[in-house]
């Protein structure tokens, strides 16, 4: 399979992960670029073109709140988990853990033994 195709699939996989990772990290107040760096340090490389629209969408959905800080050298928009976001996060975490468990289980499965068990 070609590298661009693999890159595309990888990016699609990451996009879903970034959502829950960003929500989880934004229990602490952070600006967009700071979040990019924290995610990168945690091993999730994210482009600004993906993260900023995502933050905007989460804010529109009411899961994040934002505030401009103009006190520093340049204005920064800080994001924080909203009250709705705080209630949603445990539910999303539970969904994520469920998916993670299932996918790990599928990846670890010996397909030959499954075929024998199901009589295929």
């Amino acid at each position: 399979m070609s590298t661009p195709t693999l890159d595309k699939i990888g990016a699609e996989l990451r996009r879903g992960i970034v959502q829950i990772a960003a929500l989880s990290l934004l229990r602490e107040r952070m600006h967009g670029y700071q979040l990019v760096k924290v995610l990168a340090a945690a091993g999730i490389e994210t482009e600004e073109g993906t993260l900023y629209p995502l933050l905007r969408r989460l804010e529109t959905q009411g899961l994040l709140t934002s505030q401009w800080d103009t006190a520093g050298a340049r204005p920064r928009k800080y994001y924080l988990l909203s009250e709705d976001g705080k209630s949603a996060l445990p539910v999303l975490e539970s969904v994520w853990r469920g998916i993670n468990r299932s996918v790990n289980s599928i990846l670890a499965t010996d397909l030959a033994s499954v075929a024998t068990e199901t009589g295929q």
Binding site: E47, Y52, R56, R74, P75
Partner: protein, 322 residues
């Protein structure tokens, strides 16, 4: 930071702004956030010893195409969705054809054709240039009318259905509720306009000739039309609620379509649609031939439509019995 670097960043930001949709305030906020990030990244690179211009170049390159970035931030919503373009063009050309034929008719007859609230005036001094100019004017007018209708339908009545086409799937609740709102709007507008659509008036040498657009059965048909649309509104609300058993909504769907066929056949049978063309006033001795042709065409369209819907109704009834 040097002016040259600021200009480079500014150009990039301007290009991103050009492909952003949304409100002006939202756009400004998004651009400010983007700009702030760009400068912060440049600062980081220069702090580690990189030349400022080189750092700006690298940062902007890492962000990719500014238009793609702008679009990703806030996608532009086109006035007319691409999937509607074909229908829009077809409808516009059809309206243009009818409109321009009326203009030609008015020019040949050398008098206005009045279709309240519209009035079609003849071309004053017919020449190629005048014809071309009038055609362009008519086309722009018709395109504007159609665009307004399509945008209204798209925004207010998503996938509105008072048509006879088969409902392939149940849509999202918000779509059905917006359909109901659109149909309610149709109901209000149709009733509001009825007084203006009762007759057409053709001015001739001796005064104004009034030709009934639709005859005495009009009021009855309007009542039927109102019932038809009201049923469709209830149907959309039931589909919108999507509450477990959709049998009632499906039955109502069939009732709405059946009433639609009945309305159509009744209009064709009782209203002598051919008279609406005003053919007799414009075409002299050929009027009867044109009238007969139009009458036949209307009848064929009505019968074909009724046959198609009849087949669909039978299929639906059998599916319900399954």
């Amino acid at each position: 930071m040097t002016q040259s670097t600021r200009d480079t960043v500014h150009l990039w930001i301007e290009e991103a702004a050009g492909s952003m949709g949304g409100q002006a305030t939202e756009r400004r906020e998004a651009l400010l956030e983007l700009e702030s990030t760009i400068y912060e990244k440049i600062d980081e690179r220069t702090a580690s010893g990189e030349a400022e211009e080189q750092a700006a170049h690298s940062v902007l390159q890492s962000l990719g195409d500014p238009r793609a970035m702008g679009h990703a931030f806030m996608p532009q919503r086109p006035l007319l969705r691409p999937e509607l373009t074909r229908s829009f063009l077809l409808a516009t050309w059809a309206l243009f054809a009818v409109h321009f034929v009326l203009v030609i008719g008015a020019t040949l007859a050398a008098r206005d054709i009045s279709l309240p609230p519209l009035r079609i005036s003849p071309i004053e001094h017919p020449s190629v240039m005048e014809m071309f100019a009038r055609a362009l004017e008519v086309l722009l007018f018709d395109a504007g009318v159609m665009l307004a209708l399509f945008v209204l339908r798209d925004r207010v009545g998503h996938r509105a259905r008072i048509s006879f086409t088969k409902r392939k799937s149940i849509g999202e609740p918000r779509h059905h509720f917006s359909n109901a709102a659109f149909l309610a709007l149709v109901l209000i507008v149709a009733n509001f306009l009825r007084d203006n659509l009762i007759a057409i008036y053709i001015k001739n040498g001796t005064g104004t000739l009034q030709i009934p657009l639709i005859g005495s059965g009009f009021t009855d048909n309007l009542v039927l039309f109102n019932i038809w649309v009201a049923l469709a509104i209830v149907r959309e609300c039931l589909y919108g609620r999507q509450a477990g058993n959709l049998r009632a909504a499906r039955m109502l769907d069939i009732a709405t379509r059946a009433l639609g066929i009945f309305c159509l056949l009744r209009i064709v049978a009782t209203q002598r649609l051919v008279d609406i063309t005003g053919a007799k006033g414009l075409l002299g001795t050929n009027a009867d031939t044109v009238a007969a042709l139009l009458n036949t065409a209307f009848s064929l369209i009505a019968l074909t439509t009724a046959a198609v819907i009849g087949v669909e109704l039978v299929r639906r009834v059998f599916r319900l019995r399954d």
